[in-house]
Amino acid sequence: MEMPRPNPQVIARKADLIERLSRVLPADAIISDPAETRAYECDALTAYKCPPLAAILPASTQEVADALRICHDMGVPVVPRGSGTSLAGGALPTEDSVILGVARLNEVLETDYENRFIRVQTGRTNLSVTGAVEEDGFFYAPDPSSQLACAIAGNIAMNSGGAHCLKYGVTINNLMGVTMVLMDGTVTEIGGAHLDAAGYDLLGLICGSEGQLGVVTEATLRILHKPEGARPVLMGFDSNEVAGQCVSDIIKAGVLPVAIEFMDRLCIRACEAFAKAGYPDCEALLIVEVEGSDAEIDEQLETIMEIARRHNPVELRQSTSAEESAKIWLGRKSAFGAMGQINDYMCLDGTIPVSQLPYVLKRIGEMSGEFGLDVANVFHAGDGNMHPLILFDANKPGDLERCEALGAEILKLCVEVGGCLTGEHGVGIEKRDLMTDQYAPEDLSIQMAVKDVFDPKWLLNPAKVFPLASSEAHRIAAE
């Protein structure tokens, strides 16, 4: 993966930089010893590593602003980092960059049930936001699989989704306001406890901008009362195509489940071995979940199961207890970990129109054969967000390269059928060089013009999202 050449002048001024940062940050918030900066050399995309010049851990918006101003004045690139769970290399440093970690920004600032929001510092983990309100019956809806570890800051940077976003939407649909520090240290407040921030929809722009426009330090998030109950049903089919058709028929029937998850045989076996969820051994498994009171759940599941029966399922079984439901979800949410126990893998994140599911699954099967690498499929079928896992052997020379080539082909297929490269993981460096397959040069140019406005010197996470050849003119103009 090509990265911009580190700026030797920045590296040469490391001592000066650390000295200036130490005037605005406590000593233990600055990590500059090469042995310690290695902890920040990569995120969850571990194939690429590079220790940063330094890492800083500010504990307030003011500290973030002071530190950014110093980096801005000295021309030092800054890579913001949530919890480092990015699968796309969003938090991968360069040698001349400072990692700005938000881990110490983890306070709950305000909880307001009457107006249904919570205001938090963004280093707080996704699950602990729900943790702060669940005793009172509320929850924060976006639920990425990494929710135990991932930070709200990273959720905002990547506009994270999760299994239940078919009903509740992704991060942006649940984000009401932010405090954001621009690269030059300017603190901005956008939105708040009211709906639809004034002016242009800058919240919509910031969310999903991969830490390239500013550092979000505080967020106002919508919270909801938990549903009375939820119940998943397992549906097993003997072909992927039939399962895909069943998904489309369920959606068309006018019942909207909170989640429709899909797994293929490879994945089913790995997850079953890991979670003992009672998954059937079949070609394709759907987990369909609905919410409400018991009677409401019965009514919805009756409709859904009737549709499933028309597709001759090899298994059709409702969960009968809370414990069973938890196991069913544990299996699904552990899919990446379970696959990781048996193989190295690369996780893709393309999204396709739901109507294209059967065709795309068939093509992935064929491509898997052509490349000689197994592909396990696990994904959010209701919204077409696919997560093909390409299995490879990291110790086998050439395997990673073959795996990346297959991944690129699969993502191009997603674009070809009317979809996109990434549904919730972000572009990072992983999909950066495929952006020209999705967007024409002028489509990318207007996006980069947005970065010119927020970060005229192109110092925030500059090597991500846009192919280096595309962004070169902007980066040079910024120097």
Partner: protein, 378 residues
């Protein structure tokens, strides 16, 4: 009136333009400051290009009449869940609302509180920028973080960043039953508390409004629930019990009558044909009654559980009089009907205004599109 017949014609027209354009769809929502450009409408760019009910997606050219889209959706038992308001009654305009106009003004109705705003259902756009380039962002899939989200940026930018030519939308199933719970006689403060109680329940309230002068001069508080008949009946019972402390809770499950009632809430019907300026406030719900109380001579209608306040005030009321209490509490106020030269949109904090102006200069460097409409430099 310029009326390009195709996206390519529009792009050529913009590329060759040497004077400002007043961009509009059907012209039914004249919101924003006065702008001096040559009128240009997208109303000839029509047609639903793709509709996949099984994928909950619809793609249409920007000038497609909203009515045509709603009809196509209804035929499949689906709808635009964000329930766009029809401004014609309130503003006394005529003409045909277009989907592009809905998106450009980010128009949402009562269900915004539960389902989201227009921008939350916008999956992709095509538009012509100020250089006359045809640009594309987003797509037609539900989840997409491929590059920056200019889709939402275009929603609510009132044609000042580009001229929309095509929009992709997420649609949702319609519901069989629409029911309304109502409580009479609550003052504004109690009403917002009752609405908060309902919205903070697990019973999926999709509308939460309060009309202070509806029931013989006293207030009527309205709560909408939608779904299957059995589910609606169950949730109505639970909500009646939860709200018993606020007074008698009446229940109507006359779906046709309730559809009309909530259309009236959506379209601010009590203010139609009534004199005066009309303001639209977005605030924290519990702040709303206090803000309204500070404005003597104002008549209010509350939606979104109190978070959206429609205010009718004497003609020519100074904007500062409305904005001062909103600023103090947090939120924003927009003049929807009245003298538009006094400043329509809420002034932004300096750093945010600078970002907005910076974006405007990148998207429309020659200042062609609706100069002055959002208060930006002409």
């Amino acid at each position: 009136m310029l009326k390009p017949e195709s996206e390519a014609d529009l792009a050529a027209l913009v590329a060759g333009a040497d004077a400002p354009l007043h961009v509009q769809g059907g012209g039914t929502r004249p919101i924003g400051g006065p702008t001096n450009g040559t009128p240009l409408t997208t109303s000839a760019l029509t047609g639903i290009e793709l509709y996949e009910p099984g994928a909950l997606t619809l793609v249409a050219r920007a000038g497609t009449p909203l009515a045509e889209i709603e009809k196509a959706l209804a035929a499949e038992g689906q709808r635009l869940a964000f329930e766009p308001m029809d401004h014609r009654g309130l503003l006394g305009t005529t003409g045909e609302p277009t989907i592009g106009g809905v998106i450009a003004a980010n128009v949402s109705g009562p269900r915004r509180i539960q389902a989201g705003a227009a921008r939350d259902f916008l999956l992709g756009v095509r538009f012509v920028d100020g250089a006359g380039r045809v640009l594309r962002n987003g797509g037609r899939v539900m989840k997409n973080v491929t590059g920056y989200d200019l889709v939402k940026l275009m929603a609510g930018s009132y044609g000042t960043l580009g001229i929309l030519t095509e929009v992709s939308l997420k649609v949702l199933p319609d519901t069989a039953t629409v029911a309304t719970l109502s409580i009479d006689g609550l003052d504004d403060g109690q009403a917002v508390k009752a609405l908060s109680r309902a919205l903070g329940s697990p019973f999926e309230v999709t509308g939460a409004a309060h009309w202070p002068h509806a029931a013989q001069g006293s207030g009527r508080t309205l709560i909408r629930i939608e779904g299957s008949e059995a589910s609606v009946a169950y949730r109505a019972g639970e909500l009646q019990a939860a709200l018993a402390g606020f007074g008698e809770v009446a229940f109507s499950h006359d779906t046709a009558a309730n559809r009309t009632l909530w259309q009236d809430v959506r379209d601010v019907a009590p203010f139609h044909a009534q004199p005066g300026d009309v303001w639209r406030l977005s605030v924290k719900p519990s702040d709303a009654p206090g803000i309204v109380a500070q404005l003597s001579g104002a008549q209010a209608l509350y939606d979104w559980g109190g978070g959206l306040v429609w205010l009718r005030v004497p003609e020519g009321t100074a904007p500062d009089k409305i904005r001062q209490p909103v600023d103090a509490a947090g939120g924003h106020a927009t003049l929807i009907r009245g003298n538009r030269s006094a400043g329509v949109f809420h002034p932004l904090p300096a750093p945010v205004a600078a970002l907005q102006e910076g974006l405007r200069q990148k998207f429309d460097p020659r200042g062609l599109f609706n100069p002055g409409l959002m208060g930006q430099a002409a």
